[in-house]
Subunit: 439 residues, 4 copies
């Protein structure tokens, strides 16, 4: 147990009547919902980077957090202290999983060799920590965007040596993820985009990125990694434009490089909204394309145009998200990773718990709502009825290709068809959803 | 010659010294640029809908335009008067092309049969007008979004009868386009999206739309239409979400239905910006994916979140667009159609000319700038140099698949690589571009 | 009772267990909350325009609603049928109030004299309808934006005759509002803005608008109207820029013309978000400036850049709004008017009820949540503690003006002050709010 | 001369034919425009912070710039090296002015006393540098937003001790500005806003900020500072909401605290667009309210929702800005300060020059365009004609207050007025502007 979190005990479920701010009100890990426990449904993870690497800085100001584990001048000591505090936190929070970038857990060092050595040392530490605490790895990833060398892209860099550096990190991070039993491996292309088209060869960069993704998939099979490879879409920030803009864009990219059966998406709420979509739109798009993988749970601010990465706190929004996930059969290897960070003035150790507890409760309550919606299935029935015509003769012949354009036009003309309009019932359906949320 | 435009003569090129507001200052149709005339490069078209069907209404107010051709109670007489005025306008404006929706040129009538009859009658009129004036058809299309029957989609409607009605319009509009010598056929899915996911089956609607596109392509080949089939992306409006969100999304859709070699995109400036992209991003994306077809030239307002469809007036923006188009070899069957409308208080006949003349001059000046950029080729050279490393051994082996992830990582580790950083020179490049624009 | 609504009975409270979609689940009009009935707190109104004037058209398509009251060719018969249906609807919905524009209830006619006559005739009808049904008038207003004459503004029009026309409508609408016992009079300046600065004299237009507002206030006192004059802020749409951008802008305008004690604001949710603010920001700003008047209850879509005017359906959002209202003492003459419209495909008579019932339930539930938050007052206490230092010596001397800049600097230097940082506790506070919403 | 800039000579005007990227193409300092030199019109300043304090970091990555002056472990040595390089840069760039925050030029130290000592030492250095180079101070300011102590505001902090700390910085920065002959003093309230209303007392914070502004104005008069006090509006970032949202908001704030004749605005292009306004809207609003002070020249990215602070490169945008400034009589104490930063991959010494040279040329060219527009005055005449009716009897009586609402309504009714509509000519006017830009 660390000094920093010493006044905080393992978080417990106490129900909605509890006035204890360090208790769960809705998340009851073993409670059964639609045949699985909440824990199995939600597969929560906390992340290393926002919680243990970031010190509360922003573009306009220095870090506000006074974290003991960041206070050594010895980078490896910092890494060890981070791990101590991280696993103490994960355990007390009772999340079954965590996630990391390679450079979150180990110092980059001053050369590629130092990087490799540092990382291997720390993977040993993580392995031991996992064994001690039972916390598992949801996914690992490589940070190929923070170091200045990646300022013009990693896989899409105009210099193949930078590509090679990134590939080295990915190679090591994939290896570590496999060794640590990680269930997925994530690729977020923070700088895989452009600042200006004036110095950019779009076709070339796309080819580079396509080849990198193929290499990753080939390597996965080579080493027998059984987890899922995930791309995390984001439209922009830090770049002016990122190639993995949103789920639909990633789909086109995967189809171009023949990877649509090999890679799925890790959808982040705030990335969805920055791309002009609702969070549940991105989830529904992914499930409809067979690409749904995992979730970075957070929220943006509807009035702000950057990635605020706030903790999820809307049951209304997440009920719709959870409904899409449940309809598609739930997570397989994915889970809810809190890619969320405290507001800069939230400087206390407890605040780290408040953020996550609030998020976990929101997701748990949303799960219950969505499960009730699915069991009752009034929405499903209304939707099926709406499309019922497509099971009739005309609909079937159109979809099967039995009728061509001319035949359909002839049919319409001969029958002098005059389709009857039916209400879309949107307000009614919205009321039904609210009926499930506010019982 | 119509009474309405009687005080306006054919617009002529008079150069930048002219103070005549009804003359071109930059657009000199026969001036040669990079071996082709401006007219051949720009392939301007004016549209029927904004200019001759819309009366100046908006969501908050009634039409402000007092157009003589809208004043009859007989819809076929309205259609004939519209055609008279439209072709008088096209001729005086000297645009070589025009564009229309089926329901712009002929009244819908009260049944599918009336629609077909009215449309056929008016296609005869159009054919005659084209012959008289020499104005050609850039593209035709079917309006499958304004009639109430399409309130929940055309191809994606839950009712296959509505699909059939739309298919009938498309069948007729494709036939008319072929007969009138149209060089493209456009599909804009105004209602091919959703208002709420609560009543929507995304996968089903996507299947319907995919089948419709296939039907269109099959029909094109069946009737021997030599033009290009174009999809016009738009992210939203009137729907909450439109399936053809942007060029990258359309690419994925075409790949899914095996249509990527059959359909190209018609890119609209204001649709690009509503989707969160710059106009030239969409053009560059299309050319890099082999999807570039045609342009709906207009502009949005950077502060407004809807489709303002203003006339293009930025040489700075369109120089970059034209540069991307010229780099890709220019238009083949496509062109610049002014999908632009006057502001509601611009009620005079002259205003219709001011809008188009301004837009044509902006595009002509942009063409000259872009041609100079291409001839000088400093930007091209700087970009080639930037990626030069990819022609070296490492780069080639990565892209060709000769090296796998592990081999790249081994290489990097053994060489202990430390890539050198090079400036992206964005500000320098932007100054170079301004140097071409402001000589 | 009208034929159109004949199958719908007066809506009743049936509680959350009810499965009747045409019943209230949370709105129990006579239920007491903080010493007042829900009905007295919420002061619901339905509007004339969206429900009875609009036929379901949008910029891209014709009306989808088949409303019997719009089917006559005689405009005065239309007006009478509208009134019959409107009051039948208001009664069945059990809203105590309604709202109207002059041109909603009576045809404009072909001249100012016809307008006045038609309007006076219909005000007689409304008076009788109010007496018969007990429905009261929350506010009246004049539509000085839809008629083409207002295309370049009403009060801010470059032509003083247009100003005079608008003033005439306002004169008549204020008179009608007084006669009908209206509790407020609203001014929304739909076209009081500009399309382009190139033809606009900002200072002149501001002067015109300032004078118009002064005239309205003078007239109010002259005729002894006891209601409140309200300005409704909106940033844009239909104009490129509207002078009453948001509450803070209206405050500056009122200060400039000495009207800050005479006019308050009517805040609309969707206008707040279009202006870049959260809904409760606008309410909190208004209450902090002493400007809070009334609410146009609706919602926008966080991904769309226009006024979608959807029915409110977020208890989470409106709990925060209601909390600000309750903290400020609740409504005086204002209320919640549903300035909301059905989605275009919601074509059934029942849909009008679904929209309003959903909105009323959301507001009722939000009221209950906010009342609990206020009674418990944990948020209030934490906020007071946060600012406690300002009640100490230093704080008081700063605010009272007892210390000047130099003295404060001297104090800081002499004491070598090093202020202690305290967490802002945002996540904790957000969890507390969720604790009230999801009990 | 510093080593870093040793290969760069003083930038000279070489005209549009020059191919030297380190020369001005449009900015010819002594060229006379409307009776004043370009230098006197434009009053260019370069800033300390982006150029000499920032090392190229962003939220997702470390600094990319290898600046020699940041390489010492002794903060005072860093400060001195910064000054050496800064004044070498200002001189070579030939900007007449520079700007700074207190903490840009001197280290904050570990206590308020250290801060004061360090700052006084460095002000001596600046004074000497100004004397040596002839570079003058456009404005000074205090950074009361970067230090963690300001995480919850400076003037609006819940703790009056933090207010006192900020006041101390402002006291010292105002003193230094006066001593260094600064022509303005700027207040940008980076953290003067809120993250969440849940912990915020809006009225209290507004009172604190009002008192602070009053203190600043009182102190200005007390010390006989002849410069202008400027507030710099920004809507958000880093806070969720900033109290000085835009010019109209600042106007209301100044009116509330009786400061509208004492404080003007420093308008930043990118802040304007983040607030939902065009850049020239903010300038026009400021001039129409008598608040126009100075400009932070930069640009945003129309597709990105954060402050990108790019160098201005649009002559089209800045011609409109310059036109508004010239119409209002030009700058008095203000000027164009480049609050702009290089893109992160622009790592070379030359890039600092490319950014500024491009910006200066854009502004110079825009000045020439705007001067031509003003001399020709066709826009001015068309606007005057448009409002001519307000000089007639009716218009005068309305504005003067001679007619009240009832009298205007009576007049309209008796005359049965039917105002004639006139085109707003927007497209024509836009073409006229383009005629001036592209001669």
């Amino acid at each position: 147990m660390t000094e920093f979190f010493k006044n905080i005990n393992k978080i417990k479920f106490e129900g909605t009547e509890s006035s204890n701010p360090l208790a769960f009100r809705h998340y009851d890990a073993d409670k059964m919902v639609l045949g699985k426990s909440m824990k199995e449904h939600l597969r929560f993870a906390a992340c290393y980077w926002h919680n243990f690497c970031w010190a509360g800085s922003d573009v306009f100001g220095a870090g506000t957090y006074d974290r003991p584990w960041l206070k050594s001048n010895d980078p490896m000591e910092v890494a060890r202290m981070k791990a101590d505090h991280a696993f103490d936190f994960f355990s007390k929070l009772t999340v079954p999983y965590y996630c990391f970038h390679d450079t979150d857990v180990a110092p980059e060092g001053n050369s590629i060799k130092e990087y490799i050595n540092n990382f291997q040392t720390m993977v040993d530490v993580l392995e031991q920590k996992q064994a001690e605490t039972g916390t598992k790895l949801l996914w690992g990833t490589a940070n190929a965007f923070s170091n200045p060398r990646y300022m013009s892209g990693a896989g899409t860099n105009p210099d193949p040596k930078v590509f090679a550096y990134a590939a080295t990190q990915i190679f090591n991070a994939m290896g570590a993820t496999k060794r640590l039993g990680g269930e997925n491996y994530v690729l977020w292309g923070g700088r895989e985009g452009y600042e200006t088209l004036l110095n950019t060869d779009l076709r070339q960069e796309r080819e580079q990125l396509g080849r990198l993704m193929q290499m990753v998939v080939e390597h996965k099979h080579k080493i027998g990694f059984n987890g899922t490879i995930l791309i995390e879409p984001k439209p922009q920030e830090p770049t002016k434009h990122q190639y993995d803009y949103d789920t639909a864009t990633v789909y086109g990219f995967l189809k171009q490089y023949g990877l649509e059966d090999e890679i799925k998406v890790n959808i982040e709420a705030n990335h969805a909204t920055l791309a002009g979509h609702s969070f549940h739109h991105e989830v529904a798009t992914a499930t409809s394309l067979g690409l749904f993988g995992s979730i970075d749970a957070n929220r943006g601010d509807a009035q702000l145009g950057w990635d605020t990465d706030q903790f999820p706190n809307s049951v209304e929004e997440n009920t719709l998200v959870m409904y899409e996930i449940l309809k598609a059969g739930g997570f397989t290897t994915g889970g809810f990773n809190f890619d969320a960070r405290l507001r800069r003035p939230s400087i206390d150790a407890q605040d780290l718990f408040h953020g996550h507890i609030g998020g976990m409760d929101v997701m748990a309550k949303s799960l219950e709502n969505a499960a009730a919606m699915l069991e009752n299935d009034v929405l499903g029935k209304l939707t099926s009825e709406r499309y019922a015509g497509w099971n009739d003769d005309l609909g079937k012949k159109i979809l099967s290709g039995e009728m061509n354009l001319e035949q359909v036009a002839k049919f319409a003309q001969e029958k002098n068809i005059a389709p009857k309009m039916a209400s879309g019932r949107q307000e009614h359906l919205e009321n039904i959803v609210n009926g499930f949320i506010f019982k």
